[in-house]
């Protein structure tokens, strides 16, 4: 029960975070200098046109009334109209969000699939050459500019070796994929379309690798540190003394509790992951939220910008809530005692 109360408390706090975020981004978009309606229409629009758009967008209301509108809209899941396309921001973001979600999820899978084993072998061979190489690798992952890695992968795999597609989500003019979840990997599998699945996977590969470098390194580093911590515990020593085989000791007794810190870090890393996705998506012409965000930003579409920031924040909050639940699943102690808030 403790754990349920803990989760309820976390959900309430998350709502508070989202409200705070909405106030922050609203203030940035409305209080800073510049007239959003004029920005959207450009210098050649007449005064009347600007005034009409202002009324349409509610920009003539007082600041608190404007925020009220924005917040009520948000509560109903409505992000308002785009200044530029005059379409609901929801529709624009819905199309692009799935692409970003798919990229980020595959990135996380890659980061854990590579990072955790690296961390484990580094911890088992502590201070040996394997440990040092892993350490060097994680440092390089952390300091490699994501756009540089993306460009390098694109040039190497795409233009030099010609083994992988370098842009987009699917091959142009390929058969239409039914839109069920918006995630191409899932949709193609649901329809039994293996060729489409393979095509989507090949397109995902390079951007996901480019995006995962930082996270993989972080996870390897934290896994290593927490494995070494767990190894000092009495029960692990006891298992060794009883002659429990190494593999069982490492994977059954040590890895499971050592898994919690990397998961917690993953939640916090989410913000920077979304940030990096902005850069990587642009390099690979990935039709995601980032490309949409940058486009709306360059065209000074403030409602779209607010939408992108709110969705990024929601993404972050949901990711951290999922981490909390997953930690409860992996570590039963948390379920009983509740977690320190």
């Amino acid at each position: 029960m403790e754990f349920v109360y803990f989760l309820i408390r976390r959900v309430l706090w998350s709502l508070l975070v989202l409200i705070g975020l909405s106030i922050t981004i609203f203030l940035i978009a409305r209080v800073m200098p510049g007239d959003p309606a004029r920005m959207a229409l450009g210098p050649r629009a007449s005064q009347q046109q600007v005034q009409d758009l202002k009324v349409k967008m509610g920009l003539n209301l007082s600041l608190t009334e404007q925020y009220e509108r924005f917040a009520v809209g948000l509560a109903h899941g409505d992000l308002g109209l785009s200044f530029l396309t005059k379409r609901p921001v929801n529709d624009d973001i819905r199309e692009t969000f799935a692409a970003t979600l798919e990229l980020v999820l595959v990135t996380i899978v890659i980061a854990f699939a590579i990072g955790v084993p690296l961390g484990v072998v580094a911890a088992v061979n502590k201070d040996g050459w394997i440990d040092n190489s892993v350490r060097l690798l994680t440092i390089f992952g952390a300091v490699m500019p994501s756009f540089l890695l993306a460009l390098l992968l694109q040039v190497l795999a795409g233009y030099v070796l010609h083994i992988l597609p370098t842009t987009g989500r699917i091959t142009p003019d390929s058969p239409v994929i039914a839109n069920i979840t918006g995630l191409l990997l899932v949709d193609t599998l649901l329809k039994g379309d293996l060729a489409g699945f393979w095509d989507a996977l090949r397109h995902l590969f390079l951007p996901a690798i480019a995006l995962s470098a930082v996270t993989t390194g972080q996870i390897a580093r934290i896994t290593r540190a927490s494995m070494i911590d767990v190894a000092k515990q009495d029960y692990v020593e006891a298992a060794r003394a009883f002659g429990v085989p190494d593999a069982v000791r490492i994977f059954k007794y040590m890895l499971r509790p050592a898994f919690v810190p990397p998961m917690t870090i993953m939640g916090l890393e989410f913000a920077s992951l979304i940030g990096n996705a902005f850069v990587v998506e642009l390099v690979f012409v990935w039709p995601g939220m980032a490309s949409y965000g940058v486009r709306s930003i360059l065209q000074k579409d403030l409602n779209a910008l607010m939408g992108v920031v709110m969705i990024s924040g929601l993404f972050f909050v949901v990711a951290n809530l999922s981490v909390d639940v997953l930690v409860g699943v992996v570590d039963p102690r948390v379920r009983i005692r509740g977690m320190r808030a």
């Binding site: 975020l21 940035i28 500019p145 460009l151 040039v155 913000a271 940030g275 000074k300 992108v308 972050f316």
Partner: protein, 288 residues
């Protein structure tokens, strides 16, 4: 042995350990080289006038050669020169961001960790909100609403960067506040100011040092990403991220135009990261 000599002995012992630690030594060497290159750029760069909007069409797209060690860009400017001057922008950006963000983050962390209660709730919830915004997205938003420039990108990055320092100091102070030396100071009637800044702060110093060193590299990376997107320093000022972006149009044939500036960013970030990593070992601060 008096306290002063003991401290000198401890410092020299540290310095010896530091020099024997290869990562830290390599990191310090790289950082020193980058800083020196930035300071002395006008004197050591081969074509100091290539910093501005110079057009040298006869020498455009030259591959690396004895004349142009790192080649030339699409209007014939020496890339080595522009990389050296680009380091100036990167370092100024990182230093300015951290000069504002670190003290703010540290003080908030001290307050939240020591006082607890409502102070903690307000500061740490504000922290949660700030943590939910990707720094790059915030920077995009701010530079759009204002105009893209170096100052605005520094402002945007600094507005979020304090969060990590607050979290770090908060977690350290929370474990420190019940220890005897804090209780003792309180019993002796020390002021809150004294306890915060004379008792607790010195105990956070090594963690702050390590974190700030690592941050230097990370802020350089965020700044480079911003200018790669065209939202940071505006041309013709030489900036490493901008150079990668404009050189990327000529990949893969004219690889030097984007890869050398990119490698320059990597080297600077690597230097600060190795240094921070080495300092972490040296001061035994696992928490950073």
């Amino acid at each position: 042995m008096s306290q002063a000599t003991a401290e000198v002995a401890a410092t020299s012992r540290r310095w010896r350990r530091f020099r024997r630690n290869p990562t830290a030594a390599v990191g310090l060497a790289i950082v020193a080289l980058v800083v020196l290159a930035a300071i002395f750029a006008p004197w050591i760069s081969p074509y100091p006038d290539h910093v501005g909007a110079v057009v040298n069409f006869r020498a455009r797209h030259q591959p690396p050669s004895a004349h142009y060690w790192l080649g030339t860009d699409n209007v014939g400017r020496d890339i080595l020169t522009r990389v050296l001057f680009g380091y100036r922008i990167s370092l100024i950006l990182a230093a300015t961001v951290l000069i504002f963000a670190v003290p703010v983050g540290v003080v908030l962390g001290l307050l939240a960790g020591y006082f607890g209660g409502w102070t903690e709730t307000i500061i740490m919830r504000a922290n949660d909100i700030a943590l939910a915004i990707p720094p790059l997205v915030m920077a995009l938003a701010v530079t759009t609403v204002l105009t893209p420039s170096l100052v605005h990108s520094m402002l945007a990055i600094a507005a979020l960067w304090w969060t990590w320092h607050t979290r770090l100091i908060f977690s350290i102070v929370r474990t420190l506040r019940q220890q005897e030396f804090v209780e003792a100071a309180k019993t002796l009637g020390a002021s809150r100011f004294h306890i915060l800044f004379r008792e607790l702060l010195p105990n956070c110093a090594s963690a702050i040092l390590v974190k700030t060193s690592l941050d230097f590299g990370f802020v350089i990376l965020v700044g480079a990403a911003l200018s790669y997107l065209g939202l940071g320093v505006q041309p013709p000022t030489p900036d490493l991220g901008t150079m990668v972006a404009s050189g990327a149009d000529f990949l893969p044939e004219r690889w030097w135009e984007s890869l050398f500036p990119g490698a320059a960013i990597l080297v600077a970030a690597l230097g600060f990261n190795l240094l921070g990593d080495g300092l972490r070992d040296l001061f035994d601060v696992e928490s950073v």
